[in-house]
């Protein structure tokens, strides 16, 4: 007979953002424990609300499965005396393991014979095993941040206050540091009174529903979705979806009821983000927009409770939002009285990093790096002027009241205030977009100017930090340099722009070298930065499912132009899937093996004697021109095609010509030719790194 198990861990309110990960973890821990303890079940799920973590196992076996194990005993020699009677050693082994003589047998182990016994372990009652397992499961749960309370031996996100473990219709009794188990759980904090008795695991969900707790998070999510939909439809609008916000709210309530609130239309004159940010970040409301996508003076709040007294709750929430919007409006009006140029001056008093200087210093660097990139990318005069202005104003909003209050509005306020003071729309857009992409899933900057200022800003941070020795190590990356490098790479790839990252880093490092704050030689710092970018680029490409050997073969020949390296990876990946390519890679592999022995790269055509040697030389001279021209045009398809022409001459050469001959000058000449061929190939990729046996 199988029975259900419910194990409820009753807590004080667990931080909402921990919950989904915690429930996954609880599921993994429990499944592993049950398998290890040979307890069968049909399905296992976890549920949670702010005040409870719940493990629910369906159709769980009432007993552990029996276990048969083999135990090793004494050697045969020691087990029997000369008369073939069991010795004390054997008797002890049999007795000690609770075996019978029919359970023992002889087996060979590394040349000697030993006594073995087959041991039968009867499965215990599941309920007994659970008394040991459940407290272990409870204390194995980890949280990003956990606390101590009341002299307990384990930590938890917030105090655990009750435990309800019911197997079938029986209470599994144990005590963990004074927290006892019972059949009594608690319903909704205010809507339910007294304890709720759970007599059978299967009635758990229904009894709690009656006590105003929807235990299943998926059900709560659906209720919230549906109610939001209904309310916003009635208002002829739509909520602005935000999965992260929804997920947080799901774990802030046990019994969700959506309510509509509103605020004075006048606040809609504020920039949209200024209204949305306090709503979402501070109050956890959903904003509503009308059919044309304009923000409405309405919001939806999710109450933890039912409909009773909902007007009081609505008024309270409206009052709080009104106060926040009044604050925002005040900041907005105050900020508009100060020009962004004045703000830039104030940046002289804001420290970016102790050694690296102020944000103003950073601004100057961003401008210099931007100007350098503008030259490299061949921007016209009017673009250059706008870029320069955007770079100059890029950090100005950091000292505005609004950004001090809501730091997530950096860039956005810069855009708004720039428009207010009559900057060109392109400049305003670049100010906003230089922060993009803010994180892995974020949008890319839509404008080239925004992309350039963003790259200029990030390369400044990276070279600055590397100069003073604060590069990332292990999990330590206080300035998020990895993310910054990845943002540079993704921006370059998105905009398809050709930038020599090495030259850019050399440009960006100059202010730090001038200030003499670099801890190592500039060339060493640059090398480290290039290595750092290689690693990030490799990860970016692996994420895009390129093969690691193709990536390595391209990155191994050095990294300068990121977009270019990626184009070569793309081209090589196409070729790698063609069958004959692997044969070609192995031909080049033979070239590389010997080319490393070359002492010179100078070929003397007069020393060429063998026909296959001459053939290879002619082929090389011919291919070299085609290859170089194709590389020049960044026509990587034809560049590779040109290299492929050489397969036959290379193979013929190796099959018919001896390279390591006695004659010094001929040997040197042949090695020199191979070296030339290798150098050519290495401008594309180190083909010898392509994994052939696949």
């Amino acid at each position: 007979m199988a029975k259900d198990l419910v194990f409820e861990i009753g807590t004080e309110e667990i931080p909402a953002k921990f919950m989904s990960r915690t429930l996954e973890q609880l599921k993994e821990i429990a499944a592993k424990a049950l398998i290890e303890n040979r307890i069968g079940y049909k399905s296992l799920d976890t549920y949670g609300t702010p005040r409870r973590l719940v493990l629910y196992v369906k159709d769980m076996a009432e007993k552990q499965e029996d276990l048969e194990t083999e135990v090793k005993g004494p050697s045969k020699k020691a087990a029997y005396d000369s008369d073939n009677n069991p010795t004390k050693a054997l008797l002890g082994f049999v007795k000690g393991n609770g075996l019978d003589f029919k359970d023992i047998y002889i087996k060979e182990l590394s040349g000697a014979e030993y006594i073995y016994g087959r041991k039968h372990l009867k499965g215990m009652d599941t309920k007994e095993v659970l008394k040991r397992l459940l407290p272990d499961i409870l204390t194995s749960i980890n949280f990003p941040k956990s606390m101590k309370w009341g002299n307990k031996s384990f930590r938890f996100a917030r105090p655990v206050r009750w435990l309800v473990p019911i197997f079938g219709d029986e209470l599994v009794e144990f005590d963990k540091d004074g927290i006892t188990c019972s059949k009594y759980t608690k319903g909704h904090r205010v809507l339910s009174e007294g304890d709720i008795e759970i007599n059978n695991a299967s009635e758990y969900f229904d009894k709690l529903r009656k006590a105003y707790v929807i235990v299943d998070q998926n059900e709560r999510r659906e209720i919230i979705r549906r109610q939001c939909e209904e309310i916003s439809k009635q208002q002829n609008g739509n909520i602005i979806h935000d999965d992260e916000l929804l997920e947080e709210i799901v774990y802030l309530v046990e019994y969700p009821t959506a309510l509509l609130g509103s605020f004075e239309v006048d606040y809609l004159k504020l920039p949209k983000e200024v209204i949305i940010t306090p709503m979402k970040e501070h109050q956890r409301y959903f904003p509503i927009e009308d059919a044309r996508g304009n923000l409405m003076n309405k919001f939806i709040a999710i109450r933890n409770g039912d409909n009773s007294y909902i007007d009081i709750v609505r008024q309270g929430n409206e009052k709080v939002l009104r106060a926040r919007l009044a604050d925002a409006k005040f900041f907005y009006e105050e900020d508009k009285k100060v020009s962004l140029d004045q703000c830039v001056e104030k940046l002289k008093h804001v420290v970016f990093q102790e050694t690296l200087g102020t944000i103003y210093d950073k601004t100057v660097n961003i401008m210099n790096n931007s100007n350098y990139l503008a030259e490299e990318l061949g921007l016209d005069e009017s673009q250059k002027n706008m870029l320069n202005r955007a770079a100059y104003l890029s950090k100005a909003d950091l000292v505005t009241n609004m950004v001090k209050e809501f730091d997530e509005l950096q860039g956005i306020m810069g855009r708004e205030y720039a428009l207010v003071q009559g900057e060109k729309p392109e400049v305003a857009k670049a100010i906003e977009e230089h922060y993009m992409p803010r994180n892995a899933g974020d949008d890319m900057p839509s404008s080239l100017l925004g992309a350039i200022v963003g790259i200029a800003d990030r390369i400044d941070t990276i070279t600055g930090c590397f100069s003073i020795g604060i590069q990332p190590t292990g999990s330590q990356d206080p300035y998020a340099l990895r993310r910054q490098a990845i943002s540079i790479i993704n921006t370059i790839l998105d905009k398809k722009i050709h930038i020599d990252i090495k030259k850019l880093a050399e440009k960006a490092i100059t202010p730090f070298v001038e200030k003499k704050i670099n801890k190592e030689e500039p060339s060493k710092v640059i090398d480290d930065i290039i290595e750092f970018f290689k690693h990030r680029l490799k990860n970016v490409l692996l994420d895009k499912n390129y093969e690691y050997d193709v990536i390595d073969s391209v990155l191994n020949v050095g990294l300068t132009d990121i977009e270019d390296a990626v184009l070569r990876v793309k081209e090589l990946s196409k070729w790698k899937n063609q069958e004959d390519f692997l044969a070609i890679a192995s031909s080049f592999n033979r070239v590389s093996n010997l080319a490393s022995k070359a002492e010179t790269a100078e070929i003397d055509s007069n020393l060429l004697s063998e026909p296959t040697e001459k053939e290879l030389y002619d082929s090389y001279m011919n291919v070299r021109n085609i290859f170089n021209e194709a590389m020049e045009r960044k026509d990587y398809n034809n560049a590779l095609k040109a290299l492929m022409i050489m397969k036959k001459p290379i193979d013929n050469f190796f099959d018919n010509t001896m390279v390591m001959v006695e004659d010094q000058s001929i040997r040197r000449n042949r090695l020199a030719m191979l070296k030339n061929i290798e150098d050519m190939m290495m401008r594309f990729a180190d083909l010898s790194l392509i994994v052939v046996n696949k």
Partner: protein, 289 residues
Amino acid sequence: MTFQEIILALQNYWAKQNCIIAQPYDVEKGAGTMSPYTFLKALGPEPWRIAYVEPSRRPADARYGENPNRVYQHHQYQVILKPSPDNVQDLYLGSLMALGIDPKKHDIRFVEDNWEAPTLGAWGLGWEVWLDGMEITQFTYFQQIGGFDCELESAELTYGLERIAMYIQEKDDVFDIEWVEGVTYGDFFKVAEWEHSKYSFELADTKLLFSFFDSYEAEAKRIIEEGLILPAYDYVLKCSHTFNILDARGAISVTERTGFISRVRNLARMVAQAYLKQREAMGYPLLKK
């Protein structure tokens, strides 16, 4: 309910929960936590239950009495329950009932908020308590004080009295709160707000204050060497308040800021350490009660 009645209701409620009802500590401070009745008593293994109003000065929040929500000095109602009882959340909800706030008629939530006071070397985990979306209380389980692990964890409840009063009295401006019938919060404090704002932002003699800071710091160290804890701690509080004025006055750059904070934290740690030793030497008298 007037402001005064709110205070009285809380005093009565927590007195019934066996808390000592103490009076505000007489040295300037930014929060109720900084009172030695909390900072020191939260250390070590001895139980402690206390409640008090704490006028809390925050020069940077001063607004010349012109902002409806921000003031130089506000009033916290501080409760320490050490060890934290199992039903501490229910006790808290009971206190709201005592203020006429029936949880059934509202939406009361415990939303994650972790408290940290770098100048005190103190942190804890807990929540901000929301009443229909408004934060009215900070609820913290202390984990460390003065850089030392809390041997016996306390629950700290810090009520924002002005917020609660504005809610109960349905006022949009803090200065409209009725302190007692016929006397508003503005009548009581508006001039003080203006004067302290003027002083903090415009008139404070920064050179003099910097020298005060140095002197207070030196005196705290000297006194702690002599084994006197409370007088030394008074000077730590004075350092902290002086730093807050200088900060509001814009006299401390971001770089210097970290340095000043760590100087105050060092003093706090020294005092905490000395207090722990003193209580141990005394044989933890409160354990025997």
